[in-house]
């Protein structure tokens, strides 16, 4: 059974959506209040940037309200919102990445040069770097499952993949992270 953080039932969701579609502003606000923290948290976790998290959260709700009539009620409203949010976040990140690629390339070149001269970064920094280096899908599944506590069913619905694919990607993500940290494994497990 899908994890429920808000205790809402499918009937609650359908009633709320019907009220919003009927133009009830209080219902709009209830929908927003019930979900905004989770969407913002996910956006922050995937972007690591407060401004982007805020922008993508806003855009997610704008799009969700705009397309609410497409919510069929076969998934929880929060899961449907996650799907909208992840789509907004990934598309947004793609655009941001294109704009920033040049800056990043320059920064990385400088950073790598200075890294070589300095002591090795600590383990958490290395882990963060390894998470950054994960393929986009792996990173999303890893963060959503192992950090944010989503189930594979919820991740599957949000990312448009099968739960089995989510499990496989999580497994590969963990393996890649282990591999990245292998040189330090003794210090962690020993």
């Amino acid at each position: 059974m899908a994890r429920s953080t808000d205790g809402r039932t499918a009937a609650d969701d359908r009633r709320l959506v019907a009220d919003v579609l009927a133009g009830d502003p209080a219902a709009e606000r209830r929908l927003y209040d019930a979900n905004v923290d989770r969407v913002y948290r996910l956006a922050y976790r995937l972007t690591g940037d407060p401004d982007l998290a805020q922008e993508f959260t806003q855009e997610s709700f704008i799009r969700a309200f705009d397309r609410l009539e497409t919510f069929r009620g076969d998934a929880k409203l929060s899961t449907w919102l996650n799907a909208v949010a992840t789509s907004v976040i990934f598309n947004g990140l793609r655009k941001v990445k294109r704009f920033r690629q040049r800056e990043v390339d320059l920064d990385l070149a400088t950073q790598r040069a200075s890294d070589r001269a300095e002591a090795e970064p600590d383990l958490k920094e290395r882990l963060h770097g390894a998470i950054d280096d994960l393929p986009k899908g792996y990173r999303a599944v890893f963060l959503m499952h192992d950090v944010e506590g989503f189930t594979h069913e919820e991740i599957g619905r949000s990312l448009g993949i099968r739960p089995g694919t989510s499990k496989a990607q999580l497994s590969r993500a963990r393996a890649k992270l282990r591999q990245s940290l292998a040189a330090f494994a003794g210090g962690i497990t020993g």
């Binding site: 690591g48 799009r63 294109r98 950090v147 962690i188």
Partner: protein
């Protein structure tokens, strides 16, 4: 090589340590600020409807304006190349001097750049709101034709304007290629191109402040 137990221990450590990755700040999400932004955006969307038929109408109005502009430019260029002709009904043909032609070209060039700026702003907004940008292709084609007329005219001799017209041509050509089957990323690439070449900023620099921008207004 690590055994399974080591893997599990490492996984456990990774799970714990990963919580510090892009860790949201302890302060709550800026709920009210975001809510006001969402409401404002939705109000704007309601004031300026984004459903396809309305957009289609907007682009169509734009097409008419651009077509009229193209005809004007054609007449001016023709008057420059052949015998003097009246620019407007009631004008004295003998008054159509090279200075008049140059002034008229400046006026229509400004009008064209104003329309191009408004069109690209509309297009960018349409892409941002996730919608019917493919309807823009018709207007882009007409703007493209006008763009080429101006590039070939004496007005296109100015190096700054020429460079701007060339960048505009590239963007307009991309938009003109859009169709219902175009993939979503294609419009993103076009708007990225507009940003990267600073086309809108340069248009705003060239177009005098206060110029009427009504051709595409909704």
């Amino acid at each position: 090589m690590m055994d399974d137990r080591s893997d599990e221990q490492l996984d456990e450590w990774i799970r714990e340590a990963a919580h510090s990755y892009h860790s949201p700040p302890p302060a709550p999400a800026p709920r009210e600020e975001m809510w006001h932004a969402i409401q404002a955006a939705r109000r704007t969307a309601n004031v300026r409807p984004i459903r396809r038929p309305i957009r289609w109408l907007a682009w169509s109005v734009g097409v008419a304006a651009v077509l009229a502009l193209g005809v004007s430019i054609g007449l001016i260029i023709a008057s420059d190349r052949s015998a003097p002709i009246p620019i407007a009904a009631g004008d004295d043909p003998s008054a159509t001097t090279p200075q008049h032609v140059s002034a008229a070209l400046a006026v229509v060039t400004t009008e064209y750049l104003t329309q191009a700026e408004t069109f690209l702003t509309l297009f960018r907004d349409a892409v941002r709101t996730g919608g019917a940008s493919s309807y823009a292709s018709g207007t882009a084609r007409h703007l493209l034709a006008t763009n080429r007329l101006i590039t070939d005219s004496p007005a296109g001799a100015d190096p700054v304007l020429k460079e701007l017209l060339q960048d505009l041509e590239l963007v307009l050509a991309q938009i003109a290629q859009l169709s219902e089957d175009s993939w979503e990323g294609e419009t993103d690439l076009i708007t990225d191109g507009i940003e990267q070449r600073a086309v809108l900023t340069r248009l705003q620099t060239v177009v005098p402040a206060g110029t009427l921008r009504g051709a595409f207004s909704l």
